[in-house]
Every structure is written in C-alpha cells, then in structure tokens.
Amino acid sequence: MATLTMAKAINMGLRNAMKRDEKVVLMGEDIGKLGGVFRVTDGLQAEFGDMRVVDPPLAESGIVGTAVGMAMRGWRPVVEIQFDGFVYPAFDQIVSQVAKHHYRSAGKTTLSMVIRIPFGGGIGAIEHHSESPEALFTHTAGLRVISPANPVDAYEMIQQAIAHPDPIIFLEPKRRYWDKAEIDDSVDVMNKAEGYSRLFDARVAREGSDVTLVAYGPMVKTCLEAAAAAEGEGLSLEVIDLRSLTPFDIDTVVKSVTKTGRMVVVHEAPQFGGVGAEIAARITEKCFWTMQAPVLRVSGMYMPYPAARVEHAYLPDLDRILDSVDKAMEY
C-alpha cells in the first residue's frame, strides 16, 4: 500500500501498463524530461527511454494523427493533451479518424489508444486551461469517454483503458490531481478476474434515500461534500460517480432514482446540450412514473469559460448543489 496523489497514481498506472505491454508508447508535449506540466509522467522517460516516452513536436493534430498510424500497426499509444483547451487542433483527427476507423475498416483496424486530457476548472488558470469538452466527445460514436474521480479509480482505470481495444478519451480532473488516497499496488489490476470488464460501470459513492446526485470527475467530491452537509440538515443524498460517460451505466442510475424519486445532475460543462441533458432525458424516460420532481441540473453556464477570478461563480459548488436539492425536494 502507498499513499499517493491522483497524479502519482496515474503515473504508477502508466508505469505498470508500460511494463505489462511493450507496445504501450506515451506521446505528449513536455512529458519527457519535464514529466508533463502536471508531472503525471514524471520519471517515465528515464525509465523507458525516449522511444517509448515521446516528446513530440508541438502540434496536437500531429500527435493524435501519428498515434493513429502507430495504433494501425498494433501499438498502443497513450496521448497526453496538455490542457483541455488544446485538444481542438486534434479534434478533426479524433472525430474523423480515431472514432471511425474501426467502423469503416469493418473491424480490420483496431485503434487501441487512450487520449488523456486534464480537464475542468478550479485551479485559477488563464483561459483555455479550464474547459470541460466532454459532450463533444460523447456525441461522437466510436469513442468511449471516461473520467476517474479519485486516485484509486485513476490508477485502475488508466491501466484498464490502455488494455482496452477501443479508443478512449480519458478525462483527468486536474483540480483533483493533488487529492491523496491509499493505493494497493500489490495486486496486478489487469490480473483481477474482471480485467477491464468493470471499467464502464458507475459506482454508488454514497448511499442515500432522498435525492440522487449524479456526477463524474471533479464534481464527485463536491457532491460528496454537499451530501455530508445535507446530512446535518436531515437530508439523505445518494451520490453516483458515473466514471464512464459513454457507455453510460443507466442501470445504476435508474436503480437509485427509482429509490429516491429525485435527481440532480452536476457537471462543470455548460448545461445546454451537455451530458446532463442526455442523462435527464434517459432517466425521465425510464423513471417517469416513480419520479417526484423533474431532473434538475447544476452546471457551468452558456458562455466561454470565464476569467479565473470569477470561476467560483461559474463552477457548481456545495451551495448551488444544495440549492437545487432543495428545489427538487419542494416538488
């Protein structure tokens, strides 16, 4: 057992994946000697060499496009996009090529690749460094989109994602990089009986009976804090950590909402056309007759991510979540 930050946990997961499979190659700006701007790849180039931990030229489409070519030859590239706001130059390659190649080749070409993106706000960064572009990717069939919320999941999910045959967008909640947890490194994650079969399952992070909070990535912790505060007010909130946005583990959410009859979805991304809208529509369809209130959403707003000095007003926090919980309870 070791107590590690999420950044270190991902680092250890990457190291394990590279030891497990010599076809795993990491590519990303400054991930070599520097260890990445968040130090997630710290020490890996020294250990595995610059043919497996590659500092490519500064060109995101080039990085993803060459990773596609490597994957076509059976390699397993793990790409790091430095920040969420820098993924758009690669968006064409991701949507037109990464997502579609298995389909158009009728399964002849498997692109087993992971695109890691530190995402979300809350760290006081300048513009283009705090965005939540997940809906752009969940709307693109052919991609799987997942996001860990804590160091243990980050450690396990990165290894499972790398072993998976489909291309996966791996969204890392950058504001949680420094959260710590105990990591059990004595068991090989991939040798566990389930392999990566549980990778896309949601998790009940806290049980409750009055309202279901659904979140993923950085907002899971915020929801858990809201649930703890609500307990003092006599409200029992269930918190679901989705872990995977596509596939979306609807069964776990339906089970919870069938119990509580109320649901609030929380994410940093803007509400309109967001992941929360899709979840709301699907849960309404499945749980219409047992629901006591419409699905409510707490989210960012329909604007470019604002200047960092006011991001506290943009990002969902404990108070805004509990405000929506109260509204759900009023129905």
């Binding site: 060109a59 496009g65 076509m72 052919g142 979306f248």
Partner: protein, 365 residues
C-alpha cells in the same frame, strides 16, 4: 495558360523520346515499358468504366484520375510488397498496382461501405476523404516501424489542395524530426476542385521539403519512366534510414474533380487541349510505336481491359447494401450497450414491416 515548367525531372518527352537526366536514370527494357503501358491502359479503362457507372446511376460519385495515371503507376510499381500505402481518395492507379480489386474501390463510391477492403491484405490503406489526415497516419505507421527495426518505406499521397492542410505540414515536421521512412507524393494536378495553383501557393510545393529538412523533387508526373525512377530512388532513400522525401508529380487533371464537378466553368479549353497532347498514355504509345511494337500487343490489352470492364460492371451491381445487422456492427471493437440497444430497437421497429427494406431495391420507393 498553364504550361509544363521546363525544369521537371523527365526521362520520356511528350513526343515519346527517351531523354537522360543528370541525377536520375532508369535501366529499363522496352518490354518493361510495355508492361507499364499496360497498367496505364487498365487504370484508364477502370476510371472510364467507373465514370460511366456513375452516369448510369450505379455510383453516387466518382473521383476520376484521368491524366494522373503515370504518376500513380510509376509510384505504385516502384513499391515493394512490404511497403505500405496511405492514399487519399483518387489513388486508383496505386490501388491497381497494389492488387486491390477495382470493385472493392467502387463500394465506397456506390455507398455500400465506408471502407471496402482490408488495409493489411495488400498493404494499401483505406481511402481517406478528409484532406490530409492520412499523411499523419503514414508518419505514425513509419515511426512504429522504426521501433520494430523494420526497413520498409511508407507512401502517402495528397494533392496540391491537400498541401495547404495543417495535417500535411505537421506530417512533414514529424517525419523530419523522427527521420521517418515516409515518401510524400504530392500529385499536383493543378486544381483543388476549381482553385488553381496560383490561388493556393506562392512557391512550388516541392521546395517546402528543404524547410522541413529533407529532399524534395519535382517530376514530370505525366512521364511514367521519370516517376518510376524518382520513386524508386525515394523509397530506397527512406528504406536505407535516410528519412523522408517529398516528390511533387507535376501533372494535370484531364477529367473533372469528381462526377459532380463542371470544370468548363473554371478552365480554358485551350489549356485542356495543351495537356491532352501531354497525356501520360499517349507519350508511351508514341515511344512504343517508334520501337516497332506489334498491333497484337495493343489488342491484347484491349481484350484484358474489356474483361476487367465486364468484371467491374457485374461486380458493382452485385455489391449488396449492408444489412441492418451490418450497419450496427464494428462501431466499437467490444460491445457497447447503447449501440446494442439501438440495434435492438431498430430491428424491432423494422420487424413490424417485415424487416428493413432498401429504397434502392426493386419494388422499393
């Protein structure tokens, strides 16, 4: 009017005379030239058949390669079986020399598939329609080859229009930095649909190579001998660990961009006439006639081309529409619950009416 520059690498003039070049030579027999001519004719026939099939409503679209056969056959015939090709969507000549069934290519243009063949069967990747994407794949594929200790060349193709895409420039950067064994073949057919070279670039494309740190050559793309010589040299350059090469094949698109295009709106008839006299097939015929090629040689090609045409016409009409099950297959490598759910729902929906019926089938609407 656009004419051919006089500094192109050339080994066979448009009058059909063999000439020498200071840097590139080709040791080739007349019989080998006849073999090249055969390929040029077969590709021309394939192209014409496909155009006719589009006019008959059998294809949704066709992207003609007429005029570019020498550039493609030269590039294709210089490949070794272990090399790999990342084409755009007009490389019918290289598909032909690689051994891809012409009918498979037409599936994409008929709309029965988004792909059509196994990229690994003939080391010929799927056609790529988003301009320039494939150049980065070629570089990545070559980078992986370096890691496997392989000495294979990777060919990727783009056009004068594609040369403007960021992905092509990024591919040059990556190939240069990693010394990747990639040969970039730009078929400059002078028009990006309607936009002539002077609306797209200030300096010749091949000169860009120097800025990225590798050699660039500009070849008479209508001269199959020059193309063969320069491409052989370039692949060998790549295979021997010297890194990438850019070859600009200066050619002319005799046909339209696609069957949806109308080049009379933006090209002068005089210009087209000038280039028709520089037709890549014509100059080889002129040469072969000058070395006493018997009529039976041309007759045999005509017979083979007609047999291929029969195969294409029958094969295209037999290309089946995907079934509903096939439509939902291969979105992912492993099962995805949402795809499975929608597959199930659509199957149940269509079952109410006796199954999915194609509007293209006889009796359809």
């Amino acid at each position: 009017m656009l004419t051919a520059p006089d500094d192109l690498i050339q080994l066979l003039t448009h009058e059909g005379k063999r000439v020498t070049h200071a840097d590139f030579s080709l040791d080739i027999t007349d019989d080998e030239i006849r073999s090249l001519y055969r390929d040029l004719c077969m590709v021309r026939r394939f192209d014409n058949e496909a155009t006719a099939l589009q006019r008959q409503g059998e294809l949704a679209l066709w992207a003609q390669c007429q005029g570019q056969e020498a550039a493609q056959v030269g590039a294709g015939r210089a490949l070794l079986p272990t090399d790999f090709v990342f084409p755009s969507y007009r490389e019918h000549g290289i598909a032909w020399t690689s051994g891809v069934d012409p009918v498979a290519i037409l599936g994409l243009f008929r709309g029965t598939t988004n792909g059509g063949w196994d990229p690994y069967e003939h080391n010929f990747g799927l056609y790529t329609v988003v301009i320039g994407n494939q150049c980065l794949h070629a570089v990545g594929y070559a980078m992986a080859g370096l890691r496997e200790g392989k000495t294979e060349a990777v060919l990727t193709c783009f056009g004068d229009g594609g040369s403007n895409q960021g992905d092509v420039s990024e591919a040059f950067v990556f190939a240069g930095v990693y010394n990747a064994p990639v040969v970039f073949l730009c078929q400059n057919n002078q028009y990006a649909i309607s936009e002539p070279n002077y609306r797209q670039m200030r300096a010749p494309i091949y000169k860009r190579a120097e800025g990225y740190g590798f050699p660039g050559y500009r070849v008479d793309g209508n001269d199959v001998l020059a193309m063969l010589a320069v491409m052989r040299h370039s692949y060998e350059h790549a295979r021997s660990g010297k890194g990438p090469v850019l070859v600009e094949a200066f050619t002319y698109r005799l046909g339209a961009h696609t069957t949806s295009d109308d080049p009379t709106r933006y090209r002068d008839a005089d210009e087209v006439e000038y280039w028709k006299d520089r037709d890549p097939l014509l100059r080889v015929k002129r040469y072969l006639d000058s070395v006493n090629t018997p009529q039976s040689f041309y007759d045999e090609i005509e017979v083979a081309a007609e047999a291929m045409a029969v195969h294409i016409r029958a094969g295209v009409r037999e290309l089946a529409d995907p079934t509903l099950d096939e439509m939902f297959t291969h979105v992912y490598a492993e099962p995805h619950p949402l795809v499975e759910q929608e597959h199930r729902e659509m199957t149940e929906y269509f079952e109410q009416f006796g199954g999915m019926r194609s509007p293209h089938a006889a009796g359809g609407h």
